[in-house]
Symmetry: D3
Amino acid sequence: MKFLTFGEVMLRLKAPGHERFFQSPTLEASFGGGEANVAVSLANYGMDAAFLTVLPENDIARACVRELRGFNVDTACIQYGPGRMGVYYLESGANQLPSKVVYDREYSALSLARPGTVDWGRAFAGVDWFHITGITPAISPGARDLSIEALREAGRRGITVSCDLNYRKNLWNYGQKACEVMGEMAEYVDVAIANEEDVQKALGITSDVAVESGELDREKYRILGNKVLARYPNMKMIAITLRESRSADTNGWAACLNDRERFYESKRYLITDIIDRVGGGDSFSGGLIYGLNTYPDRQQALEFAAAASCLKHSVMGDFNRVGVSDVERLMRGDGSGRVQR
Amino acid sequence: MKFLTFGEVMLRLKAPGHERFFQSPTLEASFGGGEANVAVSLANYGMDAAFLTVLPENDIARACVRELRGFNVDTACIQYGPGRMGVYYLESGANQLPSKVVYDREYSALSLARPGTVDWGRAFAGVDWFHITGITPAISPGARDLSIEALREAGRRGITVSCDLNYRKNLWNYGQKACEVMGEMAEYVDVAIANEEDVQKALGITSDVAVESGELDREKYRILGNKVLARYPNMKMIAITLRESRSADTNGWAACLNDRERFYESKRYLITDIIDRVGGGDSFSGGLIYGLNTYPDRQQALEFAAAASCLKHSVMGDFNRVGVSDVERLMRGDGSGRVQR
Amino acid sequence: MKFLTFGEVMLRLKAPGHERFFQSPTLEASFGGGEANVAVSLANYGMDAAFLTVLPENDIARACVRELRGFNVDTACIQYGPGRMGVYYLESGANQLPSKVVYDREYSALSLARPGTVDWGRAFAGVDWFHITGITPAISPGARDLSIEALREAGRRGITVSCDLNYRKNLWNYGQKACEVMGEMAEYVDVAIANEEDVQKALGITSDVAVESGELDREKYRILGNKVLARYPNMKMIAITLRESRSADTNGWAACLNDRERFYESKRYLITDIIDRVGGGDSFSGGLIYGLNTYPDRQQALEFAAAASCLKHSVMGDFNRVGVSDVERLMRGDGSGRVQR
Amino acid sequence: MKFLTFGEVMLRLKAPGHERFFQSPTLEASFGGGEANVAVSLANYGMDAAFLTVLPENDIARACVRELRGFNVDTACIQYGPGRMGVYYLESGANQLPSKVVYDREYSALSLARPGTVDWGRAFAGVDWFHITGITPAISPGARDLSIEALREAGRRGITVSCDLNYRKNLWNYGQKACEVMGEMAEYVDVAIANEEDVQKALGITSDVAVESGELDREKYRILGNKVLARYPNMKMIAITLRESRSADTNGWAACLNDRERFYESKRYLITDIIDRVGGGDSFSGGLIYGLNTYPDRQQALEFAAAASCLKHSVMGDFNRVGVSDVERLMRGDGSGRVQR
Amino acid sequence: MKFLTFGEVMLRLKAPGHERFFQSPTLEASFGGGEANVAVSLANYGMDAAFLTVLPENDIARACVRELRGFNVDTACIQYGPGRMGVYYLESGANQLPSKVVYDREYSALSLARPGTVDWGRAFAGVDWFHITGITPAISPGARDLSIEALREAGRRGITVSCDLNYRKNLWNYGQKACEVMGEMAEYVDVAIANEEDVQKALGITSDVAVESGELDREKYRILGNKVLARYPNMKMIAITLRESRSADTNGWAACLNDRERFYESKRYLITDIIDRVGGGDSFSGGLIYGLNTYPDRQQALEFAAAASCLKHSVMGDFNRVGVSDVERLMRGDGSGRVQR
Amino acid sequence: MKFLTFGEVMLRLKAPGHERFFQSPTLEASFGGGEANVAVSLANYGMDAAFLTVLPENDIARACVRELRGFNVDTACIQYGPGRMGVYYLESGANQLPSKVVYDREYSALSLARPGTVDWGRAFAGVDWFHITGITPAISPGARDLSIEALREAGRRGITVSCDLNYRKNLWNYGQKACEVMGEMAEYVDVAIANEEDVQKALGITSDVAVESGELDREKYRILGNKVLARYPNMKMIAITLRESRSADTNGWAACLNDRERFYESKRYLITDIIDRVGGGDSFSGGLIYGLNTYPDRQQALEFAAAASCLKHSVMGDFNRVGVSDVERLMRGDGSGRVQR
């Protein structure tokens, strides 16, 4: 079974440790981006995963491809074109001081791409599952058109589609509202992934769940999922992640899954010493896709996704550098952190 | 409105991460010192802040001035004279293991300075607010005389004076008791800042508040403030910080302000993953001076100071590298640490 | 009074910070191993401590000896012989993600050593106390024979023997069961040190205490100690450490001591921000040996050991880089982590 | 006397040491750009130097301004506007392997600026000397127009203008030839600075001097200068730098100056262990401007410039972190590198 | 065209910069080994390159495979088996102080492998060229037998064989002489690669060329090549590298090729600031294999190999991180090290 | 045979790599000082070496002692007293830019010590050779008196005395001229070590040898030595080092020895890529003392000293981390820098 994810991958430049920007003249450089993160998760779990994006032809982009390939992500269908490689700067918060992201992703090669850039026949060859997020259509009209083209092409080929709605308020600035575009995209989606805010902002479906409070109300989440599934009859299921942000270090984490037939809730995790929460949502998507394609029952799939993304919070960088055995140990209830010798 | 702070700035040499001294042959080098820290805070909040000290003429001192100037602190009135640049070595504790400071500040240029070293006319030109601490008079008889000279000169010019009483038991070793000197200095102070121990040791005013227990008793703090204000009729107000030291990582933090008319209490903050608590008190002073000169009501001024110093515990180094928007976000109640994108 | 510890010391290669292996092309290199760790603890407390091992003659082993000698450990009786220096790779976990150790210690010089390698007359000259662990006999038949030879030689000389039973399931793979060997060794031991699992696996003495639950039941530990002491009439006492592993960052820590006459329990410590727990048990052994030889009563000896090992969790590396004053401060109840200036 | 330089400042991201890009996941982050480099040189020599550019309002740009201000560069007239902060990636070569620069400077705030963006009255207030380079007009039509506007405004105010012709072949890609634009700009220039290739490519004035050979032929350089001065009667003088690139580590370095009356040649320096040659030309400009405004005779001015830029090759980063005494020591002939104690 | 290289890959642990072992508690960790280095070179030049070895199943070996895969080396045929991953420690010399390698490669998985471990049908599927070195047969009798088995299997399949004779005196210690084994292996070799010492020690063919003097005598090298080719009629050609070691920093480098018909000599390179010479010979092999399969004439092939290996001396690590364009630039004569912008 | 060296050891704080001070907020921290450096050299060569100094009781001084003890230097006679630990800051030059040392050694514990501080009976117990330098008497009148006391005590015991004259112009500032003090000290010296400037400035014996030119004139050095030996009949020999400083990276290095009977000259070394030349002279002293006590003839002793100090230039830090085999390899003429495997 082959998986393809499509989106932007950026150079990630992080201030060292808990330093604020340029406290030292050093930046920790790695790569990341929602869809690439999902591809790496899948490859780490042993799946046949490919990643599609558009990159400029320079040494920075080549290093990114080298990194992805090292993780066993198939990079053969990556396109090269005019434009830059997006960059994001990251500063790690602690306690009441939030982490901070400064984006420098405008004019990226993907944002300058247009429908027709990608040879979908080649990209989708042998692909069974396609994953996309709400970030890509937000970066430019061209990327939006390309996203919709991708979904149509996937649909035409009967490929299963998962989509992390992923609403980013600062990106939607080319003159169209998120919910106009995401609403259209949602019509192609089999498996939707979102948090409560994404549903509201990306699909315009309101809920009474208070985001800031962090208090989880299962019933509300069930109803919210039902609303989405009612609006999009094509969707087979929607998974909603529940982050309770107590501080930059301490988050509660859980998720639920509504597959029209049942409402599944995962275990709740309390993470008290977050190493890096960027990519936490992507690690959930990666875990869910793996789980749905591996475990016979959906409760297990959801638990795998929740445990995988719980562990991501203990891993530095966008990529979730854990394996199936790490996740399954936690799924089985062993979160004791005893040294593995 | 122009602010001047006066005191010693030192080279700060910290063992990396949580390492103990010389576990690696590397020291993290920055600069700091109570009054310089206050100047940097004020400059970070957009105020016109100057810093006065005496430094030797060498490359290390010049680097310190470059750093301060980068923060937009006016360094034009810094004096150069014989003596060294003080150094302090720092090792970061964790859990039950305390952080450790080894001072090497004897024979500093400031400690060798004498009244007459500073051209007060130039230093105080245009200055509206003067800040000093109980550290400077403790380092040498010369620095003591210079401190008192500064206060007299400020008084003569009608400049508002704030003073962080800051009692350091290991410094007062030139033969005079802290309370003799600080008692005299207190007579020039408009805004006193202290913790409970400072009041007791620097002013000799006792209290029944148990320092070690960390249990806060508002009434006691109100009474303690009243005692100080009664003794020093010149003082317009006294702010007292309340640190509850649970471990090297976890501290409770709050403050109160007694302005003779009202007793204000700040929110209480729990900081569970302290990055660096050195400079925490100074960040309170900086925040309070900013707040008193910015907000119409004193509750807000106190809240700004408490929030600013709460955030300092998440910033590495003596300097509080946060801005007004960071502090106001926390004042408004958002300590959720959600990533700022 | 002179102390000798005997066992393997390895090169320890740790991924930086909380990174997973080879996330950066850098490894933090230090040295460690149960018995060397105990020798360093004793030397740090001012005791006359020597360490015996077998090392290859190369620059890596020489650097290890340099490091030990720096700590004032007497390295004069270290033997040099064929074989490698063992290596262990370490990755630091966080939250629910455990730390991970990858051993590369096969074919070490100690594992290739045989009885006759060591001149016990020279090694034991002037020695009053000998410490060994259950790790050494597990690494090879030769090391097992050498361990038993050492115990016999110590016994012949009337040297007090302490032994940390230290069961490591992955090591016992040369065809003999741990309890066969450890049972024989235990007959020479005056002071046994163990956790509940060690007693069970190394001595085959079962208990009803649930290891994973972390719930401590004093009565059970008293009974477990009694069982061991009953089986081994030579043993004067047994100390049992109680680790409650809540996560990779947060552990409860306590210990008890059964000297046939009384059952002592230490204070319980909660460590919420573990820096490095490798070597935690060894720091307990080092503290206990120091305590038994320093304090008139055993409660104090046990409290010293528990406090010392509590502090080890805040120190990076195998070695417990704390001194008597650090430990005694915590013993006296000051775990507030207030900055020591 | 006040100096203003105008141009783009970028984030400089260098692979550590001699590593190739992303050999380690770390980048050394500093700031640089031709005209900012000149301003820093001037400030380091004690001159009153200001820098004008257009930057986006984000933390990265603010850190850049902090750095410049630390060097005592007046940053008050920096404009903030839409667009990015340019980035350049640098990899240090050695021997026959060249250093490599990857630019990511498109869509920078300066490149998006247009005439009218800058309040020249304010920028030029009190300014006596204005410095610009051939890089700025190359980055976009807007920056070109702004450059010419700047020169006109400077001319109108009788401000002396220096210009480093600085031809960069990869920048001139918006459809106009360098020599069209630079030819126009040259009409405003009092002091031209160039290497042989710049003269040829930026002004279209040919020479028989073989660039690649590195062999210097003074007579040819004199004639080349004469040709330029003949074409531009406004020019008071032209300085030409002569780099003989033997390898990435070893360069010959010298310069000549033609002021219509005399032809001056500097000492020739051989630099065999280059630390960083980026910014070498800018350090020459900075040194020449300082020299022309400080020394009574032009030979000395040229020698200062040549020595200053020789020293730059031993300093990491774009900025020439040396002082007047360092340069004058070398001017006096002491290049022995004896330790200064 | 597909290439396969076979041999041992080790963890390489280097002291930072020019530090001696454990001057800092840090090691720079990468991977390397003669045959893996050749595979990386080929992949960097765009060839379809695979690497065969035997590794243990642990995280360190997995990281090595990830690194190789990132370079686009096909790692699919790597075998996993009992034993360790070899390690080598490296300290960088300078001037008269040599670099130092400490090997810890005994009991590696490859050294414990035996004929029958590798499924040659699968390993050689589609392979056109096979590369091996004199290191592998030196590490153990099993590795020797496996090497000869590999050569026989390659021969049976008509695969072209290249072999770097690579004599390592410290490895041949299992009781057989290098020339007995290498003599047998040489009978399968089409393209031999060696330096003068290798020919002498590995094949027992003497020469009058003085190794230490570094003075090159072409005629002697021609004759030496002829002797080898006369002894081994199967060999189509032999390339000999000529290193003139003036100091740890400065080496002369050149090579010659004798293809029975002609004697080709490469340009001579002087490298005065060596960054890392480990892997220099392997980069020659990689360059030669690429060159012979790419350029129509052998002079060019030899020049590519010489230029590639010259550039390797400017790259840190075993792997030659340069591309075809870098090498061809130097082949064309541009070793000026001018910054590539 | 036991050796004792006496003098000041300082904390050495070096800017990383070739950075200028505070270009990064990091300092490389090690320890060093002329006489400690000699003790480490001797211990590295396997000699029984002790070091005497006065240190404050703090963690920094303790780390220094730990480092020295690791090198097997006997630190038992180190005294603890009031005062600081001296610090020196170091910035590494390159090419024409000199390295720079900023001293912060005033008020050190040694400078505050007085005759009577040291129990010479204990310090000199078993000592055969005593080494001192011209630095110690320069730091304070107390240290001067202590130095002379030491020499008298050594003389009384018939201990051989070596002295590196080591003139430091910036230290002699307490009101006495170097040559007054050093002249007195020279009367106790058996083996004098100096460079040409030391002889002139410390002993007031002039020479016609041009220091700056670097051109060596053997005859002049022979005569200079003769002059010194004529003035001090107690001296058995004088060794003079000849440094030819071509640049911060490239130095010529040689030495001569005049033992009244013969004039020996060492090989001349050219060092083209200096890693660290601080401690170069001390490594000569260490090598000479070793050589004179090891080799039967003085030419060999001198060659050992010259080769040892040549190698020091390739080692980072004050301490010469090379062994006898490293030095003897170079003595035998192998400076080829070939990798030692």
